[in-house]
């Protein structure tokens, strides 16, 4: 846009530029307005839930809401031995002031996930509250301890004192097998409660193995498909896509039928005489990986195929005609041209497998469960949504980290062909 050039027939080039800019702005605005519904949709269904999830992972209102006086009374306590009698009196006053038994229940659940046993302790105290009278704190303490001797133990009081704040790092710490000690110092979980580090590792391990198998099986197939004439390739592509459109549960059930000890695979191998005893193919790692590879294979084949279709076969022929061995030409000339497809397919398969839940739950043993199984367990069975959200956040962070690493290594945008 150079104003110095005088265009014939247009008196004022500046006015032209203005109207051009205006038109441009209008066009941009219209384009933006067109994406607005999608943006709003993404915001509502994607970003807001993720933000809510992350908030749940650090939210800790139960103790602060239910026991404000107790938290104050415990502020100066050295968190060893039994707390001062005033804390007992404050606790009883707090419990008595609760508007609804549901608040006591929420408090009991929160403390129980911190100190197992606190649920019955708190609920029993709440149900057997002494009548309101100006009893001396030491009397209140004696009464509570008489009700349940565990009120003499420091563990439960430490749990209350530690959770006085509305926000807590506890869930997130627990998701990486750490916790805060009695004085707020970081320490590792006791050995028998140390588990999520290993589960995260296992999640990555299974995902990596599945990705590798998908690549090994998918690459030759995609290559073969890309060399076929379109008519044949389309027919075969349907064979790839039909399982892709079938429900995951159906495919998992089919694998149970095939892999069980009296199933088709074992019977076949026995009939051929390869094995005497049926192999254990189900309810272990083998079953999980076989089924996951089967389910995720199309996600590897489709990006690979679309990239391979765009690679001209002439390069390979040129390399061979220039004297390269066919295999060397394939690996040094052809394969590098399909790297975008490999990258996209591998990333897609890997990230999808990280979140797998149903397949390992139905086909695996307790040692084959991935992180999402425990998210479901905390959300559904234990109804500890803070912990479920923290594990979800861990999964999210791991995925983002991975994508960051991928961007670093591949130095390009994720392309799906």
């Amino acid at each position: 846009m150079t104003a110095s050039i005088a265009l014939p027939g247009i008196p004022d080039p500046r006015a032209l530029r203005r109207s051009l800019a205006r038109a441009e702005r209008r066009r941009k605005l219209r384009a933006f307005a067109l994406t607005l519904p999608l943006l709003a949709f993404l915001l509502l269904t994607f970003l807001v839930p993720i933000a809510a999830l992350l908030k749940r992972a650090v939210e800790n209102p139960e103790v602060a809401d239910a026991l404000p006086r107790t938290v104050v009374a415990l502020a100066d306590w050295n968190r060893q031995g039994t707390p001062p009698a005033a804390a007992y009196a404050a606790l009883v006053a707090d419990l008595r002031a609760l508007p609804d038994s549901a608040d006591a229940g929420a408090l009991a659940r929160r403390l129980n996930s911190e100190a197992p046993g606190a649920r019955s302790l708190v609920m029993n105290a709440y149900k057997a509250l002494p009548p309101d009278g100006a009893a001396a704190p030491s009397d209140v303490k004696a009464r509570l301890v008489a009700l349940d001797a565990r009120w003499d133990e420091a563990t439960y009081w430490q749990a209350i004192a530690k959770n006085g704040a509305r926000w807590t790092p506890d869930y997130l710490l627990a998701s990486v097998d750490l916790r805060r000690g009695a004085h707020g110092d970081l320490e590792r979980m006791p050995a028998d409660q140390r588990v999520f580090g290993r589960i995260l590792l296992r999640t990555f391990e299974i995902s990596a193995v599945v990705t590798l198998w998908c690549l090994l099986l998918g690459y030759p197939l995609a290559y073969w498909l890309s060399t076929l004439p379109p008519r044949k390739a389309n027919v075969l592509m349907i064979l790839v896509l039909v399982p892709f459109w079938t429900s995951i549960l159906v495919r998992v059930a089919a694998w149970i039928v095939l892999l069980q000890s009296a199933g088709l695979v074992n019977r076949g191998l026995q009939a051929v005489g390869v094995i005497d005893q049926p192999l254990a193919l189900l309810f272990n790692r083998t079953g999980v990986i076989v089924a996951m590879v089967h389910i995720l294979l199309p996600f590897m084949i489709l990006p690979l195929y679309s990239v391979m279709k765009s690679v001209p076969s002439t390069y390979l022929r040129a390399a061979v005609s220039l004297g390269s061995a066919p295999l060397a030409a394939f690996f040094r000339v052809y394969v590098p041209q399909t790297y975008p497809g490999i990258g996209a397919g591998a990333l897609l398969v890997f990230i999808l497998s990280i979140g797998y839940y149903v397949t390992p739950a139905l086909l695996g043993g307790p040692d084959d469960q991935m992180l999402s199984y425990y998210v479901a367990q905390y959300a559904n069975v234990d109804v500890n949504w803070g912990m479920a959200a923290a594990l979800g956040a861990l999964l999210l962070a791991a995925t983002l980290l991975l994508y960051g690493v991928y961007r670093r290594v591949v130095k390009s945008e994720l392309s799906l062909g």
């Binding site: 996930s113 606190a118 649920r119 309810f283 307790p366 367990q377």
Partner: protein, 342 residues
């Protein structure tokens, strides 16, 4: 004018059935138990004009919690396992039951009467085996652990619940002392040590339908199982047997999620399902024991002998301690996950 009469007719057509027939959603655990409930509870009560829409779930309390918290309660009556009744009641997920609208409390087993839930039936987690394949029957949990005498795989439910109790009984703890032992650090260690012994021989199950399948297919020689599932398989011509020694019995409960718009109809349904007649009809469909003790006199000896509540079967049984599991469940399940990864 013509249009208006059309609209009126349409409106009447839509409104009439709703007035004539009230509808409630009843949520159950599905499978053989869901089918038995359909025959014993839902179909008979529909004749009295209350339409029942059955929904299946897997006991996810999160769904109820989400409904109650968002005040959009679409479930009217929910079958819930015992630890969840206590927990949900404490946390205000369920309505408190008005027993004057159901039945006198004295008619029921003491464990069936709670503040927010009333027992539907008594079921048991037991040891089961295929009598066609195993000639010498196993009797105790020590037998279950004895891989020399009974070679082959065993199936256990994925998770800590029940398994730690069975492990302690296999290690020689008397049923009456199981929960006292498990509450101590040493006792829990002992249970997991015992499970470690059996670990290479375990095939894990997830759904209640799996143990009979494993047994019939010959994948495992013995399995823990819900007794009703074994009964259901035998009704289809299998020859599965139950070793009742050291079984863990428990109740499932009817609850009403807090804030349902159909509370009265829900109570009506629960009252019907708690009558001796309905309870007996249910026990005839599946071998789960009635909670209404008056139902027992309506059952024949053969049906009675299969129930977890039969004196012969209940003799060495252990009642599931829901207080213990409500307190320790989360920590024990986490420990189980850690143990399984070793």
């Amino acid at each position: 004018m013509k249009h208006r009469s059309w609209a009126l007719a349409l409106a009447a057509g839509l409104a009439l059935p709703a007035v004539a027939q009230q509808q409630i959603t009843v949520v159950n655990f599905g499978g053989a138990n869901g089918n038995a409930q359909k025959k014993a509870f839902y179909e008979p009560i529909e004749k009295s004009g209350l339409k029942v829409v059955p929904v299946e779930y897997n006991g996810e309390q999160a769904k109820i919690k989400a409904m109650v918290e968002t005040r959009k309660v679409t479930w009217d009556v929910v079958e819930v396992e015992s630890p969840d009744v206590a927990r949900g009641c404490d946390e205000g997920l369920f309505e408190k039951l008005d027993y004057s609208k159901i039945a006198p409390k004295a008619d029921f087993l003491p464990a069936a009467v709670t503040e927010c839930g009333i027992g539907i039936f008594v079921w048991s987690t037991v040891m089961a085996y295929d009598a066609d394949k195993l000639k010498t029957p196993p009797v105790t949990w020590a037998d279950f652990w004895d891989v020399k005498k009974f070679p082959g795989k065993r199936a256990l439910r994925k998770g800590a619940r029940y398994n730690v109790e069975f492990a302690l009984m296999a290690d020689g703890v008397a049923p009456a002392d199981v929960y006292r032992t498990l509450a101590t650090k040493d006792g829990a260690d002992r249970a997991f040590r015992k499970l470690t012994e059996l670990k290479p021989h375990i095939q894990w199950w997830e759904a209640g339908a799996q143990p009979p399948q494993f047994l019939v297919a010959g994948d495992v020689v013995m399995s823990t199982a819900f007794n009703g599932r074994i009964d259901a398989a035998n009704r289809e011509g299998r020859n599965l047997r139950i070793a009742w020694t050291g079984g863990i019995y428990d109740l499932d409960y009817w609850t009403i999620p807090k804030g349902t718009p159909n509370k009265e109809a829900a109570l009506k349904f629960i009252a019907f399902a708690s009558t001796p007649e309905a309870q007996a009809a249910y026990a005839r469909q599946i071998a789960y024991g009635p909670t209404n003790t008056k139902a027992l006199s309506k059952l024949d000896a053969k049906t009675l002998a299969n129930l977890p509540t039969a004196p012969e079967n209940a003799k060495t049984a252990l009642q599931f301690d829901l207080k213990f599991w409500a307190d320790q469940g989360e920590a024990l399940e986490k420990r189980f996950a850690s143990w399984a990864a070793q």
